[in-house]
Point group: C2
Chain length 131, copies 2
DNA sequence: CGCGAAGTACGATGAGTCTCGTACATTCGC
DNA sequence: GCGAATGTACGAGACTCATCGTACTTCGCG
């Protein structure tokens, strides 16, 4: 159909993020409760700033990865912005810290500690590239 | 009934808790991600020690409450012990603190803050010291 | 303009779980 | 022993979510 009205197509170039006070603790916790998303957040934390969507070695397909990024964004954990053909991601450290002081840091620290301990067990969890 | 087979009956008087190193961060996060369970943990934290299963004002049925307590226990967040006809619950502060230092405290603090902020929206603005 | 790259959307599927009601087990008090 | 109180187990229903494949859009480049 040559109709240019873009009935259903047309990816929205503008992404909606929740405002700071719209962020709910349960949502953040839920977002962080998934191993894949936890890994993403871990990488984002080390990247500290900008990161494309495809630098993760998560054992999931591209669609699933997109899904997880969306969950993270809609729950207020990260921000996303288009940059040409890529999309830059960043942690919302400031908002999270203002809302739930110490929480992000505690989770991140716990995740790293557990990942380090878990590696010793021999599981091939493909832990997010610990530089 | 003298029948000793008890096919389906027989509540186990002994409860299984995960050992300290069997506690997984994702499980704890997942357990805490539910509003009902978060409320339970909040009450347990203030009770600091002993608490029966039926002192919570959660808007769910008794069965559901039992289910949530089970989840909390099996994910290593609380311990449970029988005491006559009641069952005492307690937070596993020590284990959690040893495994994920600062995490429980951060979550609890964040939960209280958010609860206080949420109350202000409808009830008597009890927001204590909003910076 | 055509092609490759990056990401998204949609639908489907399977698993997990939140909720409930009801029936049952256990303990306490009389 | 009987009844009340507390809590559990089981099964069912509805819902969410994680995962995938495929088709599509948009951008950048030559």
């Amino acid at each position: 159909m040559p109709a240019t009205s873009t009935p259903s197509g047309g990816a929205p170039r503008v992404l909606g993020h929740p405002s700071r006070d719209a962020i709910r603790l349960e949502d953040v916790l839920h977002a962080l409760a998934d191993p894949v998303r936890l890994g993403i957040v871990l990488v984002l934390d080390e990247a500290e700033g900008e990161c494309s969507c495809s630098v993760f070695d998560a054992p999931v397909s591209k669609s699933t990865l997109t899904h997880h990024f969306r969950v993270l964004r809609e729950h207020g954990v990260i921000t996303q912005a288009y940059r040409g053909t890529a999309k830059m991601n960043a942690l919302r450290r400031d908002d999270l810290e203002a809302l739930f002081p110490g929480l992000l840091d505690a989770v991140l620290t716990a995740a790293r500690r557990q990942a380090a301990a878990g590696l010793g067990a021999g599981a091939g969890a493909a832990a997010t590239g610990r530089a």
